[in-house]
């Protein structure tokens, strides 16, 4: 348990460090970082590299955004195995539907409840 925590902590932390270096060195906006990481995770998931990493690091690999990309790739592969070519279209969003819906609903909830605030 402690070991699982440490593995997730270190692996997740290191992925964030890669993001930080990209922000500071290349002046990429956070939007571009997010896109880059999801696409990278999806490619790594596609070629089968990310899966063993997930098995090792657990939430350290699934919580950062490459994990979201990995989920898309994994979903596509599973759907193709189950239902053939149509899985190319349905697999990605099917596997990530929970996360996306959660983010949409949580965002809407916030828009109803909260007022925009200024930075100090």
């Amino acid at each position: 348990m402690i070991f699982d925590f440490l593995k997730a902590f270190v692996c997740g932390g290191l992925i964030c460090v890669v993001g930080q270096i990209l922000i500071d060195k290349t002046k990429l906006t956070s939007a571009r970082i997010l896109v880059l990481f999801v696409v990278a995770g999806c490619i790594l998931g596609g070629i089968g590299v990310y899966e063993p990493f997930v098995n090792f690091a657990g939430c350290g690999a699934t919580t950062p955004l490459p994990g979201f990309g990995y989920l898309l790739a994994k979903g596509v592969k599973e759907e193709i195995d189950n239902s053939g070519a149509i899985g190319i279209f349905t697999g990605g969003l099917k596997s990530s539907a929970g996360g996306i819906s959660a983010a949409i609903l949580a965002g809407l909830f916030c828009a109803v409840v909260f007022q925009p605030k200024s930075k100090k």
Partner: protein, 151 residues
């Protein structure tokens, strides 16, 4: 001559030389610990769901993501996430919480422009491209995988 004579190249070099630089080392340390902490906490929560509530691995994974997303969105609405983000940098951008923040922040910010073209449309200002290129990449992965499986 009534005009400054410095050339664009000379000037851009002057700018490069004088511009204050981000402190990459401390920024990376902050990103490492904050990002690591989010992932570590997710792991503990995941462990709890799987072993104590005997939820299947897949559902536990979804529940972890959903919980992180909801927490991040609420912290965004309360104006706390931007403060965390200022300190943690990539540590709060790269985890799934950063994705939730990128949707909740324009949703709150643009409510004055109405719920359709304000909240509804602007919510995807940052998250939209993430979904678009994520889906595109997954489709490409799928095509290659499909062809591979037929060979």
């Amino acid at each position: 001559m009534n005009h400054i004579t410095v050339t664009s190249n000379e000037f851009l070099k002057m700018v490069e030389k004088s511009s204050p630089k981000s402190n990459i080392f401390t920024n990376c340390l902050k990103a490492f610990f904050s990002g690591g902490l989010i992932c570590g906490a997710a792991e503990i929560y995941f462990y709890f769901l799987e072993n104590h509530l005997t939820i299947s691995k897949e559902q536990a994974g979804l529940l972890v993501s959903a919980t992180l997303i909801v927490i991040a969105a609420i912290l965004t609405g309360m104006g706390i996430y931007s403060k965390l983000g200022k300190f943690c940098g990539a540590g709060t951008i790269v985890p799934i919480t950063g994705f939730a923040n990128s949707m909740a922040s324009p949703a709150v910010e643009f409510k004055k422009e109405g719920f359709i073209l304000g909240v509804g449309a602007k919510m995807f200002a940052v998250a939209g491209p993430v979904i678009v290129y994520g889906v595109l990449t997954s489709a490409i992965v799928g095509i290659i995988y499909f062809i591979g499986s037929k060979l």
